[in-house]
């Protein structure tokens, strides 16, 4: 008896409330959007140092040998870093020197350095000239994302009158941007 009369009573109250209140309609729908944004990074490079060792006779060539090295302009290689998370920028030699004849120029005759003050922390003293190896050497890192972070790189090659014979020389440098777990 009690349960049945309770239901009747509650139903009466509900009906009364519906009649007494203004008519409103509310509809709520929820869409669950799953955004799985991956870590993203873009590294672009500008500038050309492929002819750094192309000298003129009776001028820049002799001067460079006398100085013992040839340098690119401070910003001749421009790297632009964009990333959405913690990132590292590193560099490595992607090969050995290609030299004239049987000459084997030392890979440690090549140096690079960062010449501006980009966003991030310089690694491994790369704001001064450092040598590179065949494995990645971090040169700059940062713990958050960046947009269009300009990194100016200067290149230097040592020269020796006795060792560095005339001819064609080349060596590749690979710059790697890694966006990773903080």
């Amino acid at each position: 008896m009690d349960r049945r009369w309770k239901r009747v009573g509650l139903g009466t109250v509900a009906l009364w409330a519906a009649v007494a209140a203004p008519v409103c309609a509310t509809e709520i729908e929820t869409t669950f959007t799953h955004l799985a944004i991956p870590r993203l990074g873009i590294l672009s490079i500008q500038g050309d140092v492929s002819q750094l060792l192309t000298f003129t006779q009776d001028g820049a060539g002799e001067c460079a040998y006398d100085v013992g090295s040839i340098e690119s302009n401070p910003s001749q290689t421009g790297l632009t870093v964009t990333a959405n998370d913690t990132w590292d920028l590193s560099a490595r030699l992607a090969g050995t020197w290609n030299c004239p004849g049987t000459y084997d120029k030392h890979e440690t005759d090549l140096f690079i350095r960062i010449t501006n003050t980009p966003t991030g922390t310089i690694q491994n003293g790369a704001d001064a000239y450092i040598t590179l190896t065949s494995t990645d050497t971090p040169i700059l890192s940062h713990d958050t994302g960046v947009t269009d972070n300009q990194v100016d790189v200067q290149t230097k090659v040592l020269l020796d009158w006795v060792q560095d014979i005339p001819g064609d020389y080349s060596i590749p440098i690979t710059y790697t941007l890694t966006v990773h777990v903080p």
Partner: protein
Amino acid sequence: MKSVRFAFAILACALIGLPVWAADEFDEETSGVGGTIPELCQIVVSGTGCASLLTLTQDGSGEVSYDQGYVESTANAIILTLDANKQWQLSGKIDTWSCPGTYNKDEDDLLIRITNTPTGTIQNSFNAYHTLGAVNTTMLSHTAGVSNNAVNVQARVLLDWTQDIPGPYSITITWTMETTT
């Protein structure tokens, strides 16, 4: 049953979806360093030189020089400093004497020699006094590059009481360094 499906969905996200956004990202760019080094060499001439070698003093070095038949510079009056990035040779040549009046001093009255032991091979016996001609005479050569290779040169001018009249004298020596094959 619903709870089992939900748990499966969560697990699928964990196993499949999570690595997609958690994976490290790499981007690489490569820059070539290089160029073509040409054949290069250079000479720097230093030392006290021989421009005043024939400026003799009266009642002293002048008479002594005529008596011995010549006047000599110091052993390193001319220092040639050589640089080259490959096999090279050094040679010398002269023009003619400028003499007082109509006198024509013999060019063979000038002799030179290399007095030290620089890097390279002495050519045409220039470790002893020899004359130079109007065309290049090779004095020193080497099969590889050199750096700061100092070559000390001494000059001697023959003197004759009966020939060499007083007055100003001069002659130019031209040194040539060239890379060779």
